[in-house]
């Protein structure tokens, strides 16, 4: 398959010492006699969204034909504004472990929970806790000696009972109507094996934990993702044929699978599927024999997203949730803007200006 070709205007040049044509220029008035004003039909025609890989924990998808400001908005929202439920208050009745209260409380707060955030509402600081906005968990664990430990053993697993406080010890205490509302999936940490503290005989932990809904711009523990990032599609153009005796050296300048060599003719070509995995290391430009025969670039409006879910959302659900958050934001601003417009027309004079 031959490498995909792109309009030169869509390419961000990657040169040995610098990058070129970084900013998008598709605005009205930039190119004479060209119409770049907003056009939904044109946008729909050029837009391509394609899921590439999906696992139980992560998703890779391409968004092609949008401006970086839109792609970046989605990335930022996925990281910081999609809500999740996390333990936010810890009431410590007893903690005789070597981990101090605030450190233990912090560690517990970071544990991802499997609670569907759409089933809960946000709790404002002034609100009282109810079964709609707060989820209660408890921890009760005491470590003791194992009377049946083999003689001479040095392994904590054999010597002691409950010598590790793990995330599986965080047990749900249903409140109000929660037992029915969360019947399908009982609230618990997504990973039961996180070690939160180590104990020795005589030490114990007893606490009550309140989980609330929140967003990661308030505290990073609320982030629904481990990572959410995008790259631009690499684009490699071979401008001069590569001599057959240099073919393998040329291939080694790129990431594995990016350059194909014809086994018979030793002609090199770019693999269209493989090129997306190139690191664009610019190694090829260090070799004087190749420097003039290849042009490296990235496609400005071709975003390769990678999102790793950590928490309640299935990976493929995170982008729709982010779009939902974005649209809610837009709706709120639009409403406020319309209110401002109504105010200015009804007063029949100019809008009262705030102090700058």
């Amino acid at each position: 398959m031959p490498a995909q070709t792109f309009d030169d205007r869509r390419l961000v040049g990657v040169l040995a010492e610098r990058i070129t044509n970084v900013s998008s220029r598709d605005f009205p008035g930039h190119f004479p006699d060209e119409d770049h004003s907003w056009n939904l039909a044109k946008f729909k025609k050029n837009l391509k969204v394609q899921v590439q890989r999906l696992s139980n924990r992560s998703v890779d998808f391409d968004i092609v034909g949008v401006d970086s400001s839109i792609a970046n908005a989605f990335r930022r929202i996925m990281l910081a504004e999609v809500p999740t439920v996390c333990i936010d208050q810890a009431y410590i009745w007893n903690n005789t472990t070597v981990i101090v209260d605030e450190v233990l409380a912090h560690r517990i707060g970071l544990v991802p929970l499997n609670i569907d955030p759409s089933k809960m509402i946000m709790r404002n600081p002034s609100d009282n806790p109810t079964d709609r906005n707060t989820m209660v968990f408890s921890i009760e664990l005491a470590c003791e000696r194992n009377p049946k430990a083999p003689k001479g053993s040095t392994k904590p697993d054999e010597l002691y009972i409950n010598h590790e406080l793990r995330s599986s010890h965080i047990t749900w205490v249903p409140q109000g109507e929660q037992l029915e509302a969360f019947a399908s999936l009982s609230p618990a940490p997504t990973n039961p094996n996180i070690v939160l503290a180590k104990l020795r005989p005589g030490q114990e932990v007893k606490m009550e934990l309140h989980a609330v809904k929140g967003v990661a711009k308030d505290h990073a523990k609320f982030s629904p993702v481990a990572t959410a990032s995008y790259r631009l599609l690499p684009h490699i153009k071979i401008t001069k044929p590569i001599p057959s005796h240099l073919a393998e050296k040329f291939q080694k300048c790129f990431s594995p699978g990016v350059i194909k060599i014809d086994p018979r003719t030793k002609a090199v070509s770019v693999d269209e599927q493989g090129v997306r995995n190139d690191s664009v290391s610019r190694e090829v430009l260090r070799h004087p024999e190749f420097a003039d025969s290849v042009q490296l670039s990235r496609v400005r409006d071709y975003f390769l997203f990678n999102v790793e879910s950590e928490g309640p959302y299935e990976p493929e659900r995170i982008l729709p949730e982010a779009i939902k958050v974005m649209r809610e934001k837009l709706a709120i601003i639009k409403q406020a803007a319309e209110a401002l417009r109504d105010k200015s027309t009804s007063l029949d004079s100019d809008v009262v200006m705030a102090d700058a």
Partner: protein, 110 residues
């Protein structure tokens, strides 16, 4: 304490609102940059830019200057509506691609 803050404040503008700076509360580059892009797509907008004035102020300032003495507030409202259709279109395409199922699935160990 719980004083309600206006979502949008008009900071400085000409009487006909063809030149104006709006302060949007509780927003950041997420909305600022995409809104700036959509406003710049409007041929009647002479200039549009935004800034987050200070990290400890939870606001962004959006400056809009219009040609032909048109109202920047109307342009802002149109841009917000257009951005919403952009989001809607992308979501539809994404869900279509997900429904078609033409992608690699794999099992990831945690």
């Amino acid at each position: 304490m719980a004083e309600t803050v206006e979502k949008i404040k008009l900071l400085r503008g000409s009487p006909d609102l063809s030149l104006a700076t709006y302060q949007i509360h509780d927003e950041s580059h997420t909305i600022g940059n995409s809104l700036r892009w959509m406003l710049m797509k409007n041929p009647k907008v002479e200039f549009c830019g935004y800034s987050a004035p200070h990290p400890s102020e939870n606001v962004i300032n959006v400056r809009i200057q219009m040609y032909d003495n048109l109202s920047s507030l109307d342009a802002l409202i149109t841009a917000l509506g257009d951005l919403d259709t952009v989001c809607e279109t992308i979501e539809e395409e994404y869900l279509t691609s997900l429904r078609k199922g033409k992608f690699e699935t794999w099992e990831e160990k945690s």
